[in-house]
Amino acid sequence: MSKKELLSKIGLRLDGRRAHELRRIRCKLGVFTEPDGSAYMEQGLTKVLAAVYGPHQVRGSKSKAHHDNCLINCQFSMAVFSTTDRKKRPRGDRKSTELSMHLQQALESVIKTELYPWSQIDVYVEVLHADGGIYPTCVNAATLALIDAGIPIKEYVCACTASLANNDVPMVDISHQEEVMGGPTLTIAALPMSGKIVLMEMSQRFHLDHLDKVMNKALQGCKDIRQILDAAVRLHVRDIGSATGWALTSYNE
């Protein structure tokens, strides 16, 4: 009998979840006052802060500005204390640069950039605690921050991971422990409402026959996450609206 299995015989994972269950998600919008939009996101033990500045005038070289759409600038960084061994550089290494680019691609697919000519939107994401699924949590946090900033987006962009346990059963939302123990991890960033995939990445290979079910699992995870985010956004809008007495709107109580 193997010492450690990703999925036990009775269908429980190492942290007691079932194969289709997400980790606990907690999120909050508007955590800062200085940026135009901000959000805090927690998926299991992975904790991420996101801040959005803009749209504003392009700073630095003017040649980067476009007359028909806005520039999206993403910066991904990991706090030095976020992993078990202390990181030397919080940003600027290869992994961070790659994640910044992937984040930018995911956000560019949803932001209605054509509305803001000559402008720039800055998205800063900081991982406070890394426990698997860093990229998905960052995408979800950035989405919330964009919504908080009032920037028009086509729909939510959500991301989720999935893996294959015991070479057969797909499971969703992989934690760090499960990542380390092996098993291929599939990361998907998707538009859950239209079902479009904007980013897909695999850490290892597995047999093509399994791809469909693992991908569907991850997509289902994205859809579940969207519902949780949507509920948080509604609650946030309701709270702010009631505090201002809906003065900005034509709504009368």
């Binding site: 504003h56 000519p117 009032g150 009631s242 709107t249």
Partner: protein
């Protein structure tokens, strides 16, 4: 001198939500279908997809005849003609200044739309262009009115009234633009002894009371020599902290709410007003008083 420090854990954060549980309108979130009918026009915050009208921001639906728009509760400043703004000069260019007004692009203040010293009908010469930096420099603060909005969203400002111009001694405070209530006047001389300019763009300027007779020169006079008495400075500080408290609880800012908050805050010292509990207390008392006069 001993000072009291307030250091707290993140887990002891105070809930700033003071809203009463009341009815609320239907809230739309990005990607949600507003209507499938075709006769409606698409306004701000919406887009068309497969013949359906969908929301692109999180907010409340507004309808004017056939035009449907969704308004987010928080966004950058969207300028409208006639708005009063407070801004900071970021650049001096040929014949114009660039002003940061918290809009999504820098605003423009043309040399021809300011009142230069020496009368309104003065011709603007080449010397004036050379003198521009002497009138307004980078990082100077001004109050101005929005003259026009360009197609790409840039705002043109003007200061052709004695009320507008360079700002002298005072305190600038930034809040979210949506918290400023639109009213007939945004220049307020509060009876407690301070003047407040509530810029529509969310920049608030608090300064000692302006005497109109003395300040009739308008424009570019900035008296930094004059010493503002301690009492006035304390008033200004208290008003600033009161506005911060109201803004933290997301309450609308206008002369009455600020004045009420000021009166309610008198039981605290100015420094104490920065403690979250005190801020919420002031905001709740203000909200209570406002709700009484509403009825």
């Amino acid at each position: 001198m001993s000072q009291k420090f307030h250091i707290r854990l993140a887990s002891q954060r105070v809930n700033t939500n003071i809203a009463e549980n009341r009815r609320y309108p239907k809230i739309f979130t990005p990607g949600e279908t507003i209507t499938q009918q075709h006769e409606f026009m698409r306004g701000h915050g919406t887009y068309e997809d497969n013949g359906e009208l969908k929301s692109s921001v999180a907010g409340v639906r507004e309808q004017v005849n056939n035009l449907i728009s969704v308004k987010p509760l928080k966004s950058r400043y969207n300028g409208e003609v006639g708005d009063i703004v407070v801004g900071r000069i970021t650049e001096v260019q040929q014949k114009r200044w660039k002003v940061d007004t918290n809009a999504r692009l820098d605003s423009i203040l043309l040399l021809s739309s300011v009142n230069l010293p020496g009368g309104e009908l003065r011709r603007r010469s080449v010397e004036d262009e050379h003198m521009m930096r002497q009138y307004l420099q980078e990082d100077d603060l001004i109050s101005a009115e929005v003259q026009s909005v360009h197609s790409d969203g840039t705002l043109s400002l003007h200061t052709r009234s004695l009320r507008y111009g360079k700002l002298g001694q005072g305190v600038l405070l930034k809040v979210f633009p949506s918290l400023i209530k639109r009213s007939k006047t945004h220049f307020h001389n509060l009876p407690v002894g301070a003047s407040v300019i509530l810029g529509n763009n969310g920049f608030i300027w608090i300064c000692p009371v302006i005497n109109n007779s003395e300040d009739s020169v308008g424009g570019f006079v900035q008296n930094l020599e004059e010493v503002v008495p301690l009492q006035e400075r304390e008033t200004i500080g208290r008003i600033r902290n009161c506005i911060k408290a109201l803004a933290m609880c997301k309450m609308m800012l206008y002369d009455t709410s600020i004045l009420y908050a000021y009166e309610e805050s008198l039981k605290y010292s100015i420094a104490e007003l920065l403690v979250p509990e005190a801020m919420i207390d002031v905001a709740i008392l203000t909200q209570h008083r406002l709700s009484i006069i509403e009825v």
